[in-house]
Subunit: 202 residues, 2 copies
């Protein structure tokens, strides 16, 4: 029961972490500073020692998320050596699994977009476009080498990401998982097969 005295850095990081969790659960406007303080086990006042305004917590979250390239590079490492459908399978499985295990960031991003905060904007301008670029360039390469049909690589990339991300969103946020509980690998395989071969019988 020893109440440790945190250093400023530790406390700062802890507050951001708690705030992120609560914002993703109840939105920026739906979360009170009292609540953050309570969850962090401190008084409200010390939040305002670290962050001049509640809004500043959002900026701190952005910094944290955009500097944490962990997930991104983790995926890249898993893609190494993969070819053909396996590249797409890996991406889809990674995204669906990640959001299934912890939908925090997806929710935070949605709240941010709806409430008009900068987080979603910055995320879109950097990470989202980046990922889309990566996929579109991969597709463009496959088109150039003749294994994919000629079409707009960016729209194709968005089609694929759309299947995957909308599936995650409906499962985790709209609660579709109450009605549909297909194993991830099966879903992924169907998505990738549709993306490669289409539905039409040859």
């Amino acid at each position: 029961m020893a109440k440790k005295r945190f250093t400023a850095e530790e406390r700062y990081a802890q507050i951001v972490k708690v705030a992120m969790r609560l914002f993703s659960q109840k939105g920026f406007k739906g979360t009170t500073t009292r609540e953050i303080a309570k969850e962090a086990g401190i008084s409200e006042a010390i939040i305002f020692k670290h962050f001049a305004k509640k809004e500043d917590l959002y900026s701190a979250i952005i910094d944290m998320q955009c500097n944490d390239k962990q997930g991104q590079s983790f995926l890249m490492r898993r893609l190494e050596g993969k070819e053909g459908r396996d590249v797409f399978r890996e991406i889809a499985a990674f995204l669906i699994q990640m959001h299934q295990e912890d939908p925090t960031f997806m929710k935070l991003l949605m709240f941010s977009a709806l409430e008009g905060h900068k987080l979603s904007d910055i995320f879109i301008r950097t990470r989202a476009i980046e990922t889309l670029d990566y996929l579109a360039k991969h597709i463009a390469r496959l088109i150039k080498q003749g294994s994919f049909k000629k079409t707009d690589a960016y729209i194709a990339a968005r089609a694929f990401m759309g299947m995957v991300l909308h599936y995650s969103m409906t499962q985790e946020i709209y609660g579709m998982k109450r009605f549909f509980r297909t194993p991830v690998t099966k879903v992924v395989n169907i998505f990738v097969d549709i993306f490669f071969e289409g539905m039409e019988a040859h």
Copy 2:
């Protein structure tokens, strides 16, 4: 400048309309009853003459949206006589165009899902599942008659809806339309072609 005296019904409908617009712009928690009153040009008290609690405005919106089958039947009528890819083209174009013209309902639904209100839940349990059923059954029919490959019709339906709805969402809510402005018909054709033929060169 004659300030007309509304009947109870007229006023009720007007308040719901204003509330829906504001909730979709700023969320339930982000909208105050004062604001609704101001926008409707009335005093706050009369909102509470019609709705006992602020929460009841949500129920009224649900009723309005779920009883307004206009859009649904409008789409069904447009689908009559269509075959093959045109069915899917029509659905995709309808959804993308609708959300482009007025993203109000999409936003409201997202807020509702995130804030944990009943609207999204009821909508999912009725309209969303209904639409998914329609599409899945259509796909199942195509599978049975041999023009589509054998696969899980519901996952396939969600793949298609995912492409379309995630595209709308990223365009209108995450602001992707600042970066990508492809004509709707082109996007729709690419999506439907991918869904039918896939990306692989034969």
